[in-house]
């Protein structure tokens, strides 16, 4: 049996079990759901905040003695 015939036979079988969806209607406007999803987006941390955190971590690692001074000033 050739590939074409093979596909044709399976296509026929499939369609007896799973009919094509002709005109599936979208039942409602999805924009409100979209807005809700957009508002749930986690706030982005600006790059300079990450840079500040990295610098602070580096300083504390290089100069552990600065930790008490930092805690004192917090």
């Amino acid at each position: 049996m050739s590939n074409e015939e093979n596909n044709k036979e399976i296509k026929g079988l499939l369609k007896t079990a799973i009919a094509p969806l002709k005109d599936p209607e979208l039942r409602r406007d999805l924009w409100p759901q979209m807005l809700q999803k957009l508002s749930q987006q986690p706030a982005r941390v600006p790059w300079f905040d990450w840079a500040l955190a990295a610098i602070l971590s580096a300083v504390l690692l290089l100069f552990p003695g600065a930790i008490p001074a930092l805690l004192y000033h917090l």
Binding site: M1, N3, N6, N7, E9, I10, K11, L13, L14, K15, T16, A17, I18, A19, P20, L21, P24, L26, R27, R28, D29, L30, W31, Q33, M34, K37, L38
Partner: protein, 175 residues
């Protein structure tokens, strides 16, 4: 400034306009892959969320419709991968199952069972090519592969399906 340029620049109103223009088409594409209206609605929103997040990478001179279809296909494929072993009949298929009353119910159920057990990438192309009869070129563009590879996947999907049907005891012709 054109709508697509405004969208690419992050204008929410432009995004809303694009959403309203294309939501039906995106939903229509997805529902034919996942075959469940509720899941298709959620995946339509997920698709546009991905579109909005990727707006920086969209070229305003490009084809928004084709880009949206590609993202929708990926979202639908991700869904199929997570629900691969689910063999319960989705609501939209329940009515579609009455397509040919001459075919015995047991045989239909066996075909559905075998079909839903196909690996996601084969199920996706088989659904679009064999059931929905979409052209290979259109499927290729949506999946992001060549038309030749779509044909290969359809062929492999059919082969797996045939084996599964035979193992389930359904009468299928030559191998």
């Amino acid at each position: 400034m054109e709508l697509l340029e405004r969208f690419a620049a992050g204008d929410l109103e432009a995004f809303e306009a694009l959403f309203r223009q294309h939501q039906k088409e995106v939903y229509f594409w997805i529902v034919r892959i996942v075959r469940d209206s509720g899941i298709a609605e959620d995946l339509t929103v997920e698709t546009f969320w991905r579109i909005y997040r990727a707006r920086d990478r969209f070229h305003p001179a490009g084809n928004f419709r084709a880009w949206a279809r590609r993202i929708a296909t990926n979202a639908a494929l991700d869904h199929l991968r997570t629900t691969r072993c689910e063999i319960e009949l989705p609501e939209d298929l329940a009515s579609a199952g009455a397509a040919d009353p001459a075919v015995r119910r047991e045989t239909r159920e066996q075909i559905q069972q075998a079909f839903f057990q196909l690996p996601a990438k084969y199920r996706l192309v088989a659904t679009l090519a064999l059931i929905e009869e979409e052209p290979y070129d259109k499927i290729a563009e949506a999946v992001g592969i060549s038309a030749a590879l779509v044909k290969v996947r359809v062929f492999r999907g059919v082969r797996i399906l045939r084996k599964k049907l035979n193992s389930l005891g359904a009468e299928v012709g030559a191998k």
